[in-house]
Amino acid sequence: MTAAGIALVVDDSRVNRLVLARQLTALGVEVMEAEHGLQALELLRAHPDAIDVVLLDVMMPELDGYATLAAMKADEDTRHIPVIIVSGVEELESVIRCIELGATDYLVKPIDPRILAARVNASLSEKRLRDLELEHLEEQRRLTQTIERQKAELSRFLSPQVAALVSSPDGERLLGGHRRQVTVVFVDLRGFTSFAEQADPEELFAVLGEYHAMMGAAIVEHGGTLEHFAGDGVMIFFNDPVPQEDHVERAVRMAIAMRERFAPLSAKWRRSGYELGFGVGIAVGYATLGRIGFEGRYDYGAIGNVTILASRLSSQAGPNQILLSQRAAGMVEDVVQVEPIGELEIKGLSRPVSASNVVAK
């Protein structure tokens, strides 16, 4: 077997270095030479990744084999490089000490080329394995870093739940589309269109910024999944991707919190001359959820009558009303006070729907 690699031969005798170098070259191994330990450590520090095995004499000037070995083992960059001790017959005691210090193997002079080949090849294989392992670990670390960075970046754009879903093992299946009962909440601003026409861009963005910040905090507090912000309109759903047993109640409590927090904002805007109201529609039903859009721009969305119903209820809601579909109202009437407001004709639906307004907590 031909070994390929680079060996560092460390021996104070030039004659001995020449013999080892000649024998190693015959094995296909490239050779670097050092006269003593200090020179060896210098070379190792300069080429920590290039040197695959060190053949080390024990008795040397400047820095002997023990100290060289100890220094190599103490250095993170060189400790994994295999070291073969080359010793005279009368130095076998020192070989034991070197093995204890971490030497991989030893050779006794005069060196039998077959034994040299066997030991060097074994050390080179060990080193190759070790290098592969290190490479693999490094690759793994880079990959993890990339994923962590993408997750962090993603969570700035997506709902935390959706960001987590994307990187979960179940993510691909759930993103591919699934059907589930959800509570859908639509919130919009009354009077926003005329406000948007009159206001300066700076004012418009300042108002939207305050509104979205307030809404965002309430969504996160109640564990809602934000589907989108569309100017003044906001769609949020519950019970997906994270299942929530109390999804209707969460939705209603979030809407109540928003309504309470909207009051001071609305008063402030009124002082600046903008009349903006707040309306919410909430419906419960089955929807198909998953990745919606096209390559390059996908949203995590919900599709179904339930979203249409929530959206229509929100547009029918009067100022500060939180309108619940009949089913949603039935599921929370024990925990919040609701008041039926009769039947509403809703565009796109053949029959009128009963709705209720949330009066109080």
Binding site: S13, V15, L18, V19, R22, K109, D112
Partner: protein, 124 residues
């Protein structure tokens, strides 16, 4: 150990060395030439250390000479160098004059034997 029983040159060592490098005679001849150059310098350094009574300065060249000499088969010189190395390590330089003389003689015999060997293989 009676070191004077060791041969000035054990040719079997050179034969083994030659076999260990794929029967590359030119390499062995070059190696012996290198040995003669380096050996000369080492013997000089050892002589100076002995003359100065400097045990520490003796150890390194004696060690290197011992190990190089063993490689090329000049066993008597290797043994003398080993004794000098040990004497240097122990700090015993009492009979420095004798030691220098023995080293000089052993080196002359060793280098002569090696030159003779080179002449022999060149002729073959």
């Amino acid at each position: 150990m009676n070191d004077h029983e060791a041969a000035a040159l054990n040719q079997a060592i050179l034969d083994e060395l030659r076999a260990s490098v794929g029967d590359d005679l030119d390499f062995v001849v070059d190696l012996v030439r290198t040995y003669l150059v380096d050996g000369e310098a080492l013997v000089t350094a050892i002589g100076a250390a002995l003359a100065a009574g400097d045990a520490a300065a003796l150890v390194r060249p004696a060690h290197t000479l011992k190990s190089s000499s063993a490689t090329v088969g000049v066993e008597r010189l290797a043994a003398t160098a080993r004794q000098l190395e040990m004497a240097g390590n122990d700090g015993h330089l009492e009979d420095a004059a004798d030691a220098r003389e023995r080293l000089r003689v052993d080196w002359q015999e060793a280098s002569a034997a090696l030159r003779q060997w080179m002449a022999g293989v060149a002729a073959a």
